[in-house]
Amino acid sequence: MSTFNILFSIARKEFIDHLRNGWIIAVGMAFAIFSLLITFVGFGFTGAVGIGQEQSTLFSLINLVIYLVPLLGLLLSYDGIAGEHERGTLDLLKSYPFNTPLLLYGKWLGLFMVLATTLIVGLTAPAAVSIYSGHTLQAWTLLLITSVWLGAVFISIAILFSVLILDRGKLIAIAIGVWLLFVVLFDLSVIGILVSTEGDVPMNLVNLLFYLNPTALYRLLSIDLMMDEAMIQQLGLMGQIPPTPTLIAAITAWTIIPTTIAGWCIRTSEK
C-alpha cells in the first residue's frame, strides 16, 4: 500500500508542478490551434483524391502527432531526474526510506498525466468540431489514446537519458537529437535505402526496420485502427501492416524497456 502512496505522491507533485508553471495550458493551447487549423483546412486531401473528410483530417492529425508529440514528451521529461540533481533534491530523495526506482516510476506516471492532460486540452476542440459536424467519437478517442501512448514512449526514452546524463545542457541536445533521429532522419534513411536500391529490398526487412522506430510503429498502428480500407488502399499499405497485437506489443516494449533500464541504472548508481 505504501508503495502506491509513494508512487502517487511523486506523480501528483510532478503534475502540480507542471500545471503551475503553465506548461499544460501553453502547450495544450498551441496543440489545439494546430489541430483546429488542420481540422478546418482538411489539408487539401479532401475531394481531390476521393477520401472522406474525417479520414483525411485524422490522417493529417496523425502526422501532426508524429511531429509534435515525441518532441513534447522529450521536452517535458528530459530533465526529470537531472533537474532533481541540479536542485540538490536527488541525493536528498535517495536518502529517504523508499526504493529509489519508485522516484523514477512516480515521475514517469506524473509526466504521463501531464502529457495526457495537454493532449486532451489540445484535441478536445477539433474533436468537438468534428463530432458537431456529424462524425464519430470513436476515431478521436483512438487518436487521443494512441497519441498519449506515443508520448509515453518518448517520456520513457527521455527519462532513461536523464538518469544516465545528469547535465541539462547535454540532455536538451540529446532530446533534440532523438527527435530528429526518430521523426526525420529515420524515415529519410529508409526512403534513401529504397531509392538507392530501386526498391530491391525484401519487404520483410523494411517491416523489421519499422520496429526500430516507435513513431513508425505509431503511424502503422493509428492507420490500422483509424483508417478505413479505402484510405489504407490509397496509402499503398493494404496487406503491409503487421497484425495489431504485434504493433501493440512493440510499442509496449518501447515504453517499458527504457523505463526498466532507467530503474536499474538509478538503483546501481547508489553504489
Binding site: 502512496n5 507533485k13 502540480i16 533534491t89 541525493d91 536528498l92
Partner: protein
C-alpha cells in the same frame, strides 16, 4: 543514560573511499552516540560531504565497515536504516512552484511520516507564517529552515547536516542551535559539517577534523585545546609607572617573548598555559606597570589552524 542510549548510533571503522585519480578518505574511524553533536571540520575538498554520503549509502565505501544502530550497513541502506536518518544537503533549492506546506506534505509522504508532524516541524523551525507561500518567494535563510524542517520529518535518530547554517541570519543561527540542543536531549545524534568555527565552539560536544583523508583529531574541544598546549595571548598597555627594565625582567623569568605595537602602544605576549597564571600574577603585582589587560585563551580557531596547517595566530 541507559546502555542502549550510550551505544553509538553510528560507527565507522577504517572506511576508505576513492574516486578516479583521488583517494578522498583513507581510513576513517568515527563513532557518534545518541544525544551527541559531533562537528566535522576541515578545509574544502577534504571529504566532509563524501563522508556523509557514505553514511547515507549514497556512495559505497571501497573498504571498511559502517554500523548504523549496531547493524552492519551493506552497500545500499535498507528502508529501516534510511528511516533513522534526517539529512540536510549543503544546497537544496526544493520545488519553486510548490508552497512550503505542499513541499513538506510531499516529502513527509515519501518518508511515510505522520501528517501531524508537518505542523510540528513548521513550528520548530519557525516557518509557520510562511508555509502557505510558494518556495520561490522564500529567502535563502527560509529555504535553509525548510531544509531543516524536512530533515526533522519522521523523527530521525541521526541527523546529518551539511553546512546547515549557511544563509541563516544571527537570530536564525541562535534558534537553529536551540533546536539542535532540544533534539540532543531527545537522544538524537547529530553529525554536522561547518566552516563556522565560532558557532561550533560552544555548541558541539566533539570535534572531528578531517585532514589528508583521515580524522586527524577527534575529541571534545576543551580536551583537544588542552592537549595541543596552545598559547594564550596577553595584551596590555603601559601603566602610569611603566618601566621597561622591570617588564623585561619579568618576561625573562617566565621565558616569554614580547612584541610592541607602536601605533596602539600595546604589548603582546604569547605564553604557554602552564606559565600563564604566574606571569599574570607577576605583571599585576608590580604596581602601575601595566594597564588595560586583555587575556585571550586559545579557541577553536587557533586549534583548527594549528591542527590543520601548523599555523599559529596571534
Amino acid at each position: 543514560m541507559s546502555s542502549s542510549q550510550s551505544a553509538p548510533i553510528l560507527s565507522l571503522s577504517k572506511v576508505r573511499k576513492s574516486f578516479p585519480g583521488k583517494e578522498v578518505l583513507k581510513s576513517i574511524d568515527l563513532q557518534i552516540a545518541a544525544g551527541e553533536l559531533v562537528a566535522l571540520v576541515g578545509n574544502n575538498g577534504q571529504g566532509k560531504t563524501t563522508l556523509m554520503k557514505l553514511v547515507l549509502g549514497l556512495l559505497a565505501p571501497d573498504e571498511g565497515k559502517i554500523l548504523i544502530h549496531g547493524e552492519a550497513a551493506t552497500s545500499s541502506r535498507t528502508t529501516e536504516q534510511k528511516a533513522l536518518f534526517g539529512y540536510l544537503p549543503e544546497t537544496t533549492a526544493f520545488y519553486p512552484n510548490l508552497t512550503g506546506q505542499e513541499t513538506l506534505r510531499y516529502l513527509s509522504s515519501l518518508k511515510q511520516g505522520a501528517p501531524s508532524r508537518i505542523d510540528e516541524v513548521f513550528a520548530i523551525v519557525g516557518l509557520e507564517d510562511a508555509k502557505q507561500y510558494r518556495v520561490k518567494t522564500y529567502s535563502k535563510g527560509m529555504k535553509q529552515r525548510l531544509g531543516l524542517a524536512q530533515a526533522l520529518l519522521g523523527n530521525p535518530k541521526l541527523l546529518l547536516l551539511d553546512e546547515p547554517t549557511n544563509g541563516l541570519d544571527p537570530s536564525g543561527i541562535h534558534e537553529f542551535y536551540q533546536i539542535l540542543s532540544r533534539l540532543k536531549t531527545e537522544g538524537v545524534a547529530i553529525l554536522m559539517s561547518s566552516h563556522l568555527l565560532a558557532e561550533i565552539e560552544s555548541r558541539a560536544d566533539a570535534l572531528a577534523l578531517l585532514k589528508g583523508g583521515v580524522i586527524s583529531a577527534h575529541g571534545s574541544i576543551d580536551e583537544l585545546i588542552g592537549t595541543a598546549e596552545l598559547p594564550s595571548i596577553i595584551r596590555f598597555q603601559k601603566g602610569q609607572k611603566f618601566n621597561l627594565k622591570t617588564l623585561d625582567q619579568i618576561l625573562k623569568q617566565h621565558t616569554v617573548e614580547k612584541k610592541y605595537i607602536e601605533h596602539s602602544e600595546t604589548f603582546v605576549l604569547t605564553c604557554q598555559p602552564t606559565n600563564k597564571q604566574a606571569l599574570l600574577l607577576a605583571l599585576l603585582s608590580t604596581d602601575g606597570l601595566i594597564n588595560k589587560l586583555i587575556v585571550n585563551d586559545p579557541g577553536l580557531e587557533q586549534l583548527f589552524l594549528q591542527l590543520n596547517s601548523g599555523l599559529e595566530i596571534t
